[in-house]
């Protein structure tokens, strides 16, 4: 083992161990807030792990979505929880110490430990020479319209998955709205520093989002990462205490939310009527079409994520 | 689709369709409902007559539908089914008339007549079933359609009776189902055939299995046929309105059970094969025990309908007794008793219903002198009772005669003793009623009721018992005429035993 391998091995071990410890601490933390903080740290650590396993696309997605948005979502939820829970008692309610509870816990723990050991053996037993679909992807990459293999898989080879996934996102928002949304949070007084930060960052976020989108055609990046950065801009907007004008939260908002899915579906419908395979790209125009779809998807993803963070329900007559 | 296929279906439809339509009629449209009921009943009767004529001329009526890839639903008219179909359609017409009169002004009549029609549909289906699975289908349908009739009044007692009925019949149905499925795994066909379909097949060499299946089938059928100890639901079910009791006891439910036993013994196992398996003799024993036990129980019932119910338990077992004794004569007796018991029992229930409806009499002890108030009704009752006892030349006598001689022919003399004992017991629980009604001085609250009508009760209530009483007399007197039930029974027996 040369020194490079050794350093890498230590690096990976530290990351892995850190992940396990952070996850354990985050979940076992007696205070929810601490748990969330540790979870955010866990997400950041995860993105380093992604980088280490040659998955920069995933690292980008993890940072944008996992670390950035999930953290904000969790913290916002925790703050709202505070309103409905008069004391913090239940949050750090002492773990029950009855005999039955303890037995239950230790049984669960030992069972899961057994599962973990079994999984470890299995993973070690997996064939080491499994090629996966890397070769197939590489062979068809030229016909896909983009040169980034991950984007080719996401938008072309398995574009149908992506369509469904866009819909999962929209559905989540629909679900939030169908619950009646959450009451608007009291507007905290504007803070000059924060306000300025948001004013400076938002154009940069827009630009970066577009950059990630563009990069996605040939390098790590793509609609999801771009959308997440866009969504982060929306979150920042909301956190800075800015109210979006009434007229943008009705039909305009809805149209933005459905732009991606409906363009995708329109394409699907076209292929159906034209008697082609579902979501079959014409080879010459695949590149342009993918970019168009990605632009629409980015807009929708960004808007949806921001709307999920705001979670206030639509501001027109229904749902209010 | 030709006539021979269409006719069985039409016979089913003649009660099914009116029934379905009636469900959706508003409570107030009495005329349409009555018209539909009578139209259905008369149509059915006419269609059955056409079919009877056809069968006599050797036409093969069969409607077939594929239920599963290897299994058909079959409706077929053979002599035995025709016997039951005719009985059902005649009695349905009468009962319908009776029920229309009986339920005047009571609530939920659309529901009642709807289920009433469906119940007859199921009975006719049971009668015409050409194989076990079709039989099973209509048998279960019968359970479902009679339940609402039993609980029709909606009282706590009625609901308890309904629950008890379901407990017995659903469990019975489950046993029957297992038996039928089991058979279907052993044999290529489930179709009823004279002499059964078992003899000579490969599976016939597994007597143990076949005996178990036989037990399952008989247990399943015995519930409805009210074989002791599976009879518990029947006395409770008498809380139902009189026309229902009449239908349950005389035509539909118990008869479907008994009819099923006939089918299983003759057309599934085949009498010879069954006898060789050694399953008939236990059946005879059970039937005999039922006859005696139920007769004794009947003795001690003061409630008139309960007494009649126990009488039913006893009398229906004559059918089982007759067919389980191996021998043509006894079989004739058993089969003809399907009709005879039906006529007699329905007459008795009509009468009981009249007493209850007109004078609010429910107990035997209240019947003293009632014949003076309702002579026609009690006349019919007397005919029915005498028939049950076996007084010549009434219907019951014919049955018992054949059963007795059949027993002797089958060298089972002890059965004659059972029959005699049963007749004595019959007499012991019927004669006091007749005596009290005709010869004792009236007492009881019913005397206060003023007679405001020209007849002793509504004509629609009076006509059916009179008609059935006449029929009881007729089938006895004219037993040897062509087309009489006895002649049909002979015909049927000949197909089973060979001429």
């Amino acid at each position: 083992m040369d020194r490079l391998t050794l350093v890498l091995w230590i690096f990976d071990s530290v990351t892995g161990l850190g992940l396990l410890l952070l996850a354990g601490w985050a979940l076992a933390s007696p205070q929810l807030f601490r748990g969330i903080i540790l979870f955010v740290a866990f997400s950041l650590m995860m993105s380093i792990a992604w980088v280490r396993i040659d998955a920069p696309d995933v690292a980008l997605a993890e940072i944008a979505i996992g670390a950035g948005l999930t953290g904000a979502l969790l913290l916002a939820a925790l703050s709202r929880l505070g309103d409905s829970e008069p004391t913090q008692e239940s949050m750090n309610r002492p773990i029950e110490r009855s005999y039955r509870a303890r037995t239950f816990r230790s049984l669960t723990a030992s069972l899961l430990a057994a599962v973990a050991v079994a999984l470890v053996f299995l993973i070690l037993a997996l064939p080491g020479d499994s090629e996966g679909l890397g070769a197939e992807v590489a062979a068809s990459l030229d016909a896909s319209g983009v040169s980034s293999p991950v984007t080719a898989v996401l938008l072309n080879f398995r574009g149908y998955d992506t369509l469904l996934e866009l819909l999962v996102l929209l559905l989540a928002l629909l679900g939030v709205w169908s619950l009646g949304g959450l009451p608007a949070q009291p507007v905290s007084p504007a803070v000059l520093v924060l306000d300025t930060l948001a004013r400076i960052l938002i154009p940069v976020l827009l630009l970066s989002s577009a950059y990630l989108l563009w990069a996605g055609t040939h390098a790590p990046g793509g609609a999801f990462q771009a959308g997440a950065v866009l969504g982060a801009a929306g979150v920042l907007l909301s956190l800075a205490g800015w109210q979006v004008r009434q007229r943008y939260t009705g039909v305009t908002l809805r149209l933005l939310l459905i732009a991606g899915p409906s363009l995708f579906l329109a394409f699907a419908l076209y292929t159906i009527v034209a008697g082609q395979s579902l979501l079959e790209y014409p080879p010459q125009r695949a590149g342009v079409m993918i970019v168009l779809l990605e632009v629409a998807a980015t807009l929708s993803i960004g808007t949806t994520l921001a709307a999920l963070f705001v979670a206030e329900g639509p501001r027109n007559k229904e749902g209010q | 689709m030709n006539a021979s296929t269409a006719l069985p279906l039409l016979i089913l439809a003649s009660s099914l369709l009116p029934g379905l339509v009636i469900f959706f009629l508003p409570e107030s449209s009495i005329r349409i409902r009555t018209a539909l009921n009578l139209f259905g009943a008369v149509t059915k009767l006419v269609l059955v007559a056409v079919m009877a004529r056809g069968v006599l001329h050797g036409v093969d009526y069969e409607a077939r539908m594929r239920l599963l890839p290897d299994l058909d639903l079959v409706l077929r008219a053979d002599a035995l089914s025709l016997l039951f179909v005719s009985l059902s359609s005649v009695l349905w017409l009468l009962t319908t008339v009776y029920a229309i009169g009986y339920l005047e002004n009571s609530p939920h009549r659309s529901r009642f007549f709807g289920f009433f029609s469906l119940c007859v549909t199921a009975t006719v289906g049971v009668a015409m079933a050409g194989n076990l699975i079709t039989f099973l289908l209509f048998y279960e349908l019968l359970t479902l359609t009679t339940y609402p009739l039993i609980v029709h009044r909606g009282t706590e007692v009625a609901r308890l009776a309904g629950r008890s009925y379901l407990r017995y019949t659903i469990a019975g149905g489950a046993l029957l189902l297992v038996g039928v499925v089991w058979l279907s795994t052993l044999f290529d066909t489930l179709e009823f055939a004279p002499g059964g379909f078992m003899a000579g097949t490969e599976a016939a060499s597994r007597p143990g299995t076949l005996i178990v299946i036989f037990a399952l089938l008989i247990a399943g059928l015995g519930v409805k046929a009210a074989l002791v100890p599976l009879h518990g639901w029947l006395p409770k079910a008498m809380v139902a309105p009189a026309p229902v009791s009449a239908l349950l006891h005389a035509v539909a439910v118990v008869k479907a059970g008994a009819f099923g036993i006939v089918r299983v013994v003759y057309d599934v196992y085949g009498i010879e094969f069954a006898a060789n398996l050694g399953v008939t003799q236990p059946l005879v024993m059970v039937a005999a025990a039922t006859i005696l036990y139920a007769s004794v129980r009947a003795l001690f019932q003061d409630d008139l309908k309960r007494r009649l119910a126990y009488s039913t338990v006893s009398q229906v077992s004559y059918i089982t007794l007759g067919i389980a004794m191996v021998g043509p004569i006894a079989t004739i007796g058993g089969i003809v008793h399907i009709v005879h018991q039906g006529l007699m029992k329905i007459a008795l229930f009509f009468c009981a219903g009249n007493l209850a409806e007109t004078l609010d009499i429910h107990k035997v002890s209240d019947m003293d002198g009632v014949a003076h108030r309702m002579p026609w009704t009690m006349g019919a009752f007397t005919v029915g009772a005498f028939g049950m006892i076996g007084v010549p030349p009434l219907a019951g006598f014919i049955s018992k005669w054949y059963l007795g001689t059949g027993a002797l022919a089958a060298e089972q003399g002890w059965i004659v003793l059972v029959l005699v004992a049963s007749s004595v017991l019959n007499a012991a629980y019927f004669l006091p009623i007749v005596h009290a009604a005709w010869f004792k001085t009236p007492k009881g609250k019913w005397q206060d009721k003023r007679d405001r009508q020209r007849l002793e009760t509504r004509w629609m209530l009076l006509l059916p018992p009179m008609a059935t009483a006449l029929l009881v007399l007729a089938v006895g007197l004219l037993a040897n005429m062509p087309l009489s039930p006895l002649e049909w029974a002979r015909l049927i027996t000949m197909t089973e035993y060979g001429p």
Binding site: L126, L171 | R159, L177, T185
Partner: protein
């Protein structure tokens, strides 16, 4: 026009049209009801056309994006998926019609897009031949189902929805872990490709076990059933109908597909274990249904019991048993939806569904009660219902393969079913006064319930046709009936 009809891929329409409908409903909430009804009809046309095509030309695979497996995703249209899609279409249509009357204006506009999403996701699930795509479809289905459950808005519904969501996510993740292992073990996520590659190795069995556990959670197999009764009992009635009738079947369908397509061999220890779980579900579900005080809870426990039946097909392991199980899925879909819709009518009219107080309402809603009772015929497995055919096939399979104890379980289950169905039906025949202050139920709601119930019963009469359809393209494993 005809040429167009011939080139259109109706299978894809089944996914795309309801999704478009859902999005349209979302964008134009005011026209949602009409859009949804239109979509339902369009779906019906699609499934009819697809049926005609498949019946005439046989099963086919549809390579999405024209890539084909293993690189791309493939849709698989064979008899199995066809009957599931058809059942979904029929139940879906009834639910759509029913919901048009059920939901008040404000909830209505929220309901429609969610419902169409659910429908589309079910269709997507039944069509997919790709185990990762199935994961996405499962998530879509689960999320739609949970949001619909929560639509009722009560504390019970929200709690149940939260539990349902967690279980659903847990199930999906467990399934996904299995998918990950399969992919790495055998290099594909397409079922047909996997069928040729899978060997009976520990890796495969571990992966399959994970997928199985995940799906069993979603199917609510005993002892993973704990989440189902509260969710199905507290959701709005048409939602309960969809959940019990369709959604839990979706995960079982995947299980069936995996079992047929990929699993290399039967292991009787494993299958017998499943049978025992199934039997336990039958007994437990039956007992709990009998004890239930609320109508919808009773129906929900009945679902647990019926799920138990499905798992008896594993140990029986003959083709007839699978036919029976699939038939049960179909007939139960119709019957159980009918029951929930009928219960919904009662709830709508009376404002409660306590069984002991049902008598007051039964008089006012004879049609709904009739729907319940008729559906009950199928649930009990009495002839000539679809449930009867299913039970017949399964009991026959049990006796034929000499495993009579499963037949006993089946029969016992019918007795339980009869007991709890009649426990409810009995209340229709009491003499309680009808209350004067109650809301009239729209006729469409009563008819929708009754129509489904009648369809469940009549399904017993078209068995040869359905049985022939369900094996287009793939015969069920196990010995054929001689």
């Amino acid at each position: 026009m005809e040429a167009l009809a011939a080139t259109v891929s109706w299978d894809a329409c089944l996914i795309v049209l309801p999704l478009l409908g859902a999005i349209a409903c979302f964008a134009w909430p005011n026209a949602a009801k009409k859009l949804a009804l239109g979509t339902a009809l369009a779906v019906l046309v699609s499934i009819a056309s697809l049926t005609i095509r498949v019946t005439a030309a046989g099963a086919f695979r549809h390579a999405v994006g024209a890539w084909g497996a293993p690189l791309g995703i493939e849709l698989l249209v064979d008899g199995l998926s066809l009957v599931m899609l058809s059942a979904t279409a029929i139940v879906g249509l009834a639910i759509t019609i029913y919901s048009a009357g059920y939901f008040k204006a404000d909830v209505s506009s929220r309901f429609w897009p969610l419902w169409l999403f659910l429908w589309a996701s079910l269709n997507a699930l039944f069509l997919s031949s790709d185990i990762f795509n199935l994961y996405v479809a499962l998530e879509l289905t689960g999320l739609a189902a949970v949001t619909l459950t929560a639509l009722a808005g009560s504390a019970d519904a929200l709690t149940a929805a939260a539990r349902y969501l967690l279980v659903s996510l847990l199930g999906s993740l467990t399934y996904l872990l299995g998918v990950a292992l399969v992919y790495h073990g055998f290099g594909s996520v397409d079922m047909a490709v996997l069928a040729g590659r899978v060997e009976s190795t520990p890796v495969f069995w571990a992966a399959f076990s994970l997928m199985f556990v995940g799906l069993a959670l979603k199917t609510a197999l005993f002892p993973f059933h704990f989440w189902l009764p509260p969710a199905h009992a507290s959701a709005p009635a048409p939602v309960s109908a969809a959940l019990s009738g369709l959604v839990i079947k979706a995960s079982f369908y995947i299980l069936m597909r995996l079992w047929f397509e990929i699993v290399p061999a039967d292991y009787s220890t494993f299958t017998n274990f499943l049978g025992v779980l199934g039997a336990a579900a039958v007994v437990w579900g039956g007992l709990q249904a009998l004890r239930a005080k609320r109508l919808k809870l009773l129906i929900a426990y009945s679902t647990i019991m019926q799920v138990g039946y499905l798992f008896l097909a594993f140990p029986l392991a003959v083709a007839a048993a699978w036919r029976g199980a699939l038939y049960l899925i179909l007939s139960h879909a119709l019957a159980k939806s009918a029951m929930f819709l009928a219960a919904g009518n009662i709830l709508y009219c009376a404002g409660h569904d306590r069984i002991e107080s049902l008598d007051r309402i039964a008089q006012r809603l004879p049609m709904s009660l009739a729907a319940f009772a008729v559906a009950g015929v199928s649930i009990m497995g009495l002839p000539p219902s679809g449930g009867f055919i299913a039970k017949w096939l399964m009991v026959e399979a049990a006796l034929k393969s000499g495993q009579w104890w499963w037949a006993v379980t089946l029969v016992l289950g019918s007795l339980f079913a009869a007991a709890y169905v009649f426990k409810v039906v009995g209340y229709a025949f009491t003499q309680a006064e009808a209350p004067h202050t109650s809301i009239d139920v729209p006729a469409a709601m009563e008819w929708a319930a009754l129509a489904l119930a009648v369809a469940a019963v009549l399904m017993g009469l078209i068995a040869p046709w359905i049985l022939a359809s369900m094996e287009i393209g793939r015969a069920f494993p196990g010995a054929a009936i001689p």
